[in-house]
């Protein structure tokens, strides 16, 4: 850590809040520019996908457990299971896989 933690938190909070309220308070009409509309539409999915992979592989003790959790989460999300179920099953997959690996090692 190189800066002041509270300044970091303030930077995060102010930026996030402005992103949330500026359109809500300023823009009362639809954005017309097709490129900007399309760009904004794709951004959330791309950011979340970029942040998920390959970072998930480094999150667990065993990369294999992370790969299996990734597959389980994608399958459950594909069948539109709830956020809660997707998260719990991903965690359980890691727990069981690592337990099995360490049992047999």
């Amino acid at each position: 850590m190189s800066g002041n933690i509270y300044i970091y938190i303030a930077c995060m909070a102010v930026t996030t809040y402005l992103v949330r309220i500026l359109p809500l308070t300023l823009i009362r009409k639809q954005i017309q520019n097709r490129f900007i509309r399309s760009f904004l539409y794709y951004v959330p999915y791309v950011t979340l996908a970029v942040m998920t992979f390959p970072a998930i592989l480094d999150a667990t003790q065993e990369p294999l457990a992370a790969v299996l959790a990734l597959i389980v989460a994608i399958l459950l999300a594909y069948f539109e299971k709830s956020l809660f179920l997707v998260c719990v099953c991903a965690c359980a997959t890691v727990f069981v896989t690592e337990w099995l690996i360490h049992m047999t090692a």
């Binding site: 850590m1 190189s2 800066g3 300044i7 970091y8 938190i9 930077c11 995060m12 909070a13 930026t15 996030t16 809040y17 992103v19 949330r20 309220i21 500026l22 359109p23 809500l24 308070t25 823009i27 399309s38 760009f39 904004l40 794709y42 951004v43 959330p44 999915y45 791309v46 950011t47 979340l48 996908a49 970029v50 942040m51 998920t52 992979f53 970072a55 998930i56 999150a59 667990t60 003790q61 457990a65 992370a66 989460a73 994608i74 594909y78 539109e80 299971k81 709830s82 956020l83 809660f84 997707v86 998260c87 719990v88 991903a90 965690c91 359980a92 997959t93 727990f95 690592e98 360490h102």
Partner: protein
């Protein structure tokens, strides 16, 4: 319906979100703990930011010792989707809704609370969103707090398992839209492939993870918007 009835309805609909937030925030708290952040600081971050991806990337940047400017740019990119949701909500509200109400409900623009608010039939009464915020945000804030504390107590196997919870939340957000829209599916696949390449290829090893995320997001989204601009009738979000 009165404001009071709307508030109660929002609070009831917020209960599943409370549970999901609490569980996911536990895993966020573990990320915060690994970044050297105290339970109070993590709780303060969750209360004032109220965003999974933004806080995750923020804690990562703090751990890496990123600059304040990098933090601001990264938060903007990580939360750019809220711009779109905020635009959508501005169309959903009565034009007479005063600015202070807009400022207050703006804090509740998250994937889940937005999802509830935008699905209300007819115009949105902000009190419905306040009800959902009142129930969901304590789950998020409390979960983060306990995540940092429990991160010190729980065995390594449990911490390892909980660490993927946040990724589960991300996956639950981008897979259903990818199923419905082939272009979104293509951008997600491209994001996985390019992100893997950029993170594993030594040419990019000097670049911080935040900067990699910004560049990949802008390049892939801009390419998708140029190659596959959306038609007007596809304006729905989320």
């Amino acid at each position: 319906m009165t404001h009071r009835q709307y508030f109660i309805k929002g609070a009831k609909d917020g209960i599943p979100i409370f549970l999901g937030y609490f569980a996911v925030a536990l895993t966020l708290g573990i990320t915060a703990k690994n970044a050297g952040i105290t339970p109070f600081q993590a709780m303060l971050t969750s209360l004032t930011n109220n965003t999974s991806a933004g806080e995750f990337i923020g804690f990562t940047l703090i751990a890496e010792g990123g600059s304040y400017l990098e933090m601001i740019v990264m938060e903007f990119v990580a939360n750019a989707r809220y711009l779109l949701m905020s635009c959508a909500l501005s169309q959903k509200m009565d034009t007479k809704t005063p600015v202070w109400q807009r400022l207050l409900m703006g804090h509740g623009v998250t994937d889940e609370i937005f999802g509830l608010s935008i699905s209300v039939p007819g115009k949105l009464d902000p009190f419905y969103t306040y009800g959902a915020i009142a129930v969901a945000v304590p789950g998020w804030t409390g979960g983060t707090f306990f995540g940092v504390i429990l991160g010190n107590v729980l065995p390594v196997s449990v911490v390892s398992a909980l660490s993927v919870g946040l990724f589960g939340m991300f996956i639950a957000a981008f897979i259903p839209p990818a199923k419905k829209d082939r272009v979104v599916a293509g951008t997600v696949a491209a994001a996985f492939a390019l992100s893997f390449l950029v993170n594993r290829w030594s040419v990019f090893s000097g670049m911080s993870s935040g900067l990699k995320t910004i560049l990949l997001t802008v390049v892939i989204s801009a390419a998708a918007a140029l190659l596959f601009p959306r038609k007007e009738e596809e304006a729905d979000v989320g």
